[in-house]
Amino acid sequence: MRTRPLYGRGLLALSIATAVVLAAAGALVAFYAPLDADQGVIQKIFYVHVPMAIVALCGFIAGGLMAIQQLRTGERKWDMRSYVAIHLSIVFGVGVLITGSLWAKRSWGHWWVWDEPVLVSFLIVFLLYCCYQPLRFSIRDPERQARYASVFAIAAGAFVPINFVAVRLAVQRVHPRVLSETGGHLPGAMRLTFLVALLGVALLFATLWKLELTSKNASEQLKRLRARLEATPLEGPAGAPPPPVTTVPARPEAT
């Protein structure tokens, strides 16, 4: 008998969509997008770097919004969502810094450039969010952990735009940047490729987010069931059926 999965409903469809869009984006980057006249093939890293940066920043902000929801409702699931969003954004952030470095080395000749406001702001934001996990896991009480982590997520979420303004004001000489041109002047083929890549990375983020939440919820449920099993004394003659743990109705926790 095939049972409906308790957790992660829709995860399969989301994964398939992610795989399809990412494959399409890869094909577009490889065969369709034109070679950049100045930078050559290295410019294609743009289709990985910029979508990842945008998705990571949106993930940080989303983590802050979910944290607001957590403080308002006091529900643990919002804390979980906020935590997973920020945690994944940090992972994406590592990718952004590495791809950004590679691109900078190839096109400007340095591994790191300080007069690129977006890159510098991203580094500062990344350093700030790196403290999220140490802060979170140095608090034992789960309820307090959720509250403190939420306060941090909100403050840091507000910090992201302010920091961008500050760094942008500080950098006088501005490099010719591809990002500022995404608005209008990007050639059609590049723009289409970029948008597909952005969609693919965003879907990847959503899939990973859902996957991690699903696994966290499932393992929590497992822990609850185990605790119940241990609490139920095994009595009666040998070979008696085990207590009916498996039929315990699972608390429906939408992921």
């Binding site: 350093l127 700030l128 403290c131 802060l135 307090r144 500050a166 004001l169």
Partner: protein, 224 residues
């Protein structure tokens, strides 16, 4: 709420006056860092961007000491429970702590800025005094607003002394940018054009955002 905040602030200041644990330590620390910079940079006098950077980095590092100790009395004596039992708004605790930190920072700068002018600065700071005062006060407000929030966040964690600087210094980066850039033209012998209004405006924005934000969320840190 203002009265409650005032009472907590008076209590903090009285403890500080008797024990002298925060502000003198911050001031002494800043002098030590100036000496470190003198040897680290191998320069007898500084001016311009270098001077502004050394001054502000020193002030930010010294403020970490104050932030670390902001909730010490409450934590060690278990006094926070007493404050929470009192029928007052929890925001009063935040306002009092931010005000105390602000005063410590002012005390720090009363020592550190003249000492910097004597020890390291090439050009004099006399003529630009009003502008410097405005920059210092606006920056202090932002540092105090963020510092009190971070202190409250870290007060209950195990690795408190590690969490505070790691959390605080990235949050201070916008203040550092604005304050150092605003100070820079006033620390040169031939001051050029300055964007003072831009940086003061930015610091005012930073102060407002973080003060409001901290007032909004601080309650949740004390909810037990």
């Amino acid at each position: 709420m203002i009265r409650a905040a005032g009472a907590i602030l008076r209590k903090d200041l009285r403890i500080e006056l008797r024990t002298r644990e925060s502000a003198p330590a911050m001031a002494l620390f800043s002098l030590t860092v100036f000496v470190l910079f003198h040897f680290g940079l191998h320069r007898d006098t500084l001016d311009g961007a270098l001077a502004a950077g050394v001054l502000w980095v020193t002030l930010l590092l010294a403020s970490v000491l104050g932030v670390n100790r902001l909730f010490v009395a409450e934590r060690e004596g278990g006094a926070l429970d007493g404050i929470l039992l009192a029928p007052i708004d929890r925001t009063a605790v935040y306002l009092a702590k931010a005000a105390a930190l602000f005063l410590y920072l002012v005390a720090l700068e009363l020592v550190a800025v003249p000492a910097f002018a004597v020890l390291l600065l090439g050009p004099g700071i006399g003529p630009a005094f009003p502008e410097l005062l405005a920059i210092l006060l606006l920056a202090d407000l932002g540092l105090a607003a963020v510092g009190a929030l971070v202190s409250g966040l870290a007060a209950e964690t195990r690795a408190r002394d590690v969490v505070v600087p790691l959390l605080l210094l990235p949050l201070y980066v916008p203040v550092l940018i604005a304050a150092a850039r605003a100070t820079e033209p006033f620390l040169t012998t031939h001051p050029g054009p300055h964007g003072l209004a831009k940086w003061l405006g930015f610091m005012a924005l930073y102060d407002t955002v973080f003060l409001l934000l901290a007032v909004a969320v601080f309650d949740f840190l004390l909810e037990d």
